[in-house]
Amino acid sequence: MAPRALGVGMNFLRSPRVWLWIAAAIVVVNGFFPALWIFFTSLKLEGELTRLPITYWPQHPTFQNYLQAFREQPLGRYFFNSVVVGVCSTLLCVGVASLAAYALARLQVPRRGLILSLMVGISMFPVASLMVPLYQTFTELGLRNNYLALILPHAALSLPVATLTLVSFFAGIPRDLESAAMIDGSTRVGALWRVVMPLAAPGVFTAAILAFVNSWDEFLLASTLLPAKAMRTLPVGIQLYQGEYSFPWPLISAALVVALVPVALIIALFQERVVGGLTQGGVKG
């Protein structure tokens, strides 16, 4: 068992380093394996997939799936669309959720329980059964094939989880710190921005990842509200490599790798540098 995780931090130096390595290996293998499988598949030809015994590492690695993936579909454009929708909906979601969460965590809100229940309750309806009215709404607003038609619902879909995550973080931050800032002449919103948000950085960041990934992976709304070729997001674009009966795994894997790698790296780097820094600064300060 991993020592620090069980609570007592400094003991870890005394325990064998091996445990640390094993623990790390579990997480890495568990998380990376399917992604690596996709990567290996992207280097294979389709015939290899039904060979017996099955192969792991490709027998004759080839990059032609990547070339074909870019030739058949404007992957770059899809990537750009996904970034626009993902970033905008994340910013909108986290911004709106922070304000709401602050109110719910810190202020005297009448019927607070009801507001929380409503928020959570909305996410209990399967989106698939709301498609017709949603489509009508955005067609009436003239937003079909407009980024907003996806940014708004994506932000709204992640809003409940983002808000509740932030509520739980804001509630954990000592009120003294905030009061001190307010005595120093800051307003409540100023204190929220300067004191609470940095202290809740891991929570804010988590809310942002959840919102971003929700948006990055969402298929149903994206395929219905942004159907035009120039507006397709990655999940919508990638499924177009299929045929009516065929599912060309190598080609789709190549497109998935293209979709996955930059996002994963950016999030990992961002977390290491930005949030790591904020947290250390925050907890000590």
Partner: protein, 419 residues
Amino acid sequence: MKKLVWLWLGVFALSFAMAQTKIRVFVGGQQRPEIWRKILDNFEKANPGVKVEVEVGGATSDQQQQYLTTVLASRDPSIDAILIDIVRPAQYAAAKWADPLDKYLPGVSKANLLKQLLPAYAQADEIDGKLYALPSFADAEFLYYRKDLLEKYGLKPPTTWDETIKAAQTILAGEKNPNLNGIGFMGNISEGTVCSFLLPIWASGNDVADKNGKLTLTEDQARASLQFWLDLMDKYKVSPPNMAEKAQDTIRNEMQQGRWIFGTLFAYAWNRFQTDPDSQVKGKIGVVPLPKFEGGRAASCLGGWQWTISDFSRNKALAYKVVKYLTSPEASKILAVDASNLPVYPALYKDPDVLKANPWFADALPVVLSARSRPVSPRYPEIADVMRKALNAVLARTKTPDAAAKEVIAGLQAIYSGK
């Protein structure tokens, strides 16, 4: 000044006219949108002032249904004409999503048009005497077989299921290759499995419903069909035990690696066998109609795609003009040559350009002519669900053919009696 006003009016009128003559057609992502564009470019050249936009939807029939249900249930006029799967026209007609085409085909012109087409399509697209869609290209299930292996054992391409099973057993016993399988068919939960369920019923000369839409399928017939596929695995040992999870494309891929003797697959497989760079069976594959049972008749499962006009379109007459062109022999020929789509006009199977691009179409014609359409009913999706779940459960051995046949008949009775 006056001139300027007239100019503005002119521009306004022109832009109005332009807006009026814009038609949007919907095709699935798997249907080679670039070829449709080419056909529509021809149309635009011949009809100046009409712009036709292609909206490309999801790549499978399932995903298109999801999108089109949303658009059409919202009564959205933005799509004028839609390319739909063969099983949809009845549903579209009942939902009043499709504009009946009879008014554009007065007098004998409708009968004349239908006469030129493969007979099964006239059947599938005409509901209660009204025409709701025009067929664009055909598809059907074929019995693909390994010419080289059959020749090696001195066997002729089979015409009955008994011959097929015996041939598979002979070759399997002779080859002694553990990776070689006998008869491939669809048994996972998919549209192809509906066809699998229907094939033995048709091959013994029966059908699900009669001409008046009355259920005629009996429990015995249903059980015989379910038992037949199960026997291929358990009794005759010509199919591996995991048919319940095999997708059509897995069988296609395996056959391409030389691992099946027979495969019941749709038309798309042919080109993959012949042209894929890693195909091991180039020139070694033949096609024949699906086998019959003694005393029955050969029948294939009909697929294919139809053009229908949205009832919410604001420009139906013009949309019909577009659809008429899209389903013309001229367009059908482009689809046959460029996309290897099977034509719906029997005459085109003898066209030299078409045959030059697809020599195997000569063998395909008898198969397509023998093809029968799955039950034509607005509640087809429910019928299909009953059939494929039953066959899948039997192949997975979670239900006996007896129990599954009872459920099929009970399910179908409820649907056909309007419950």
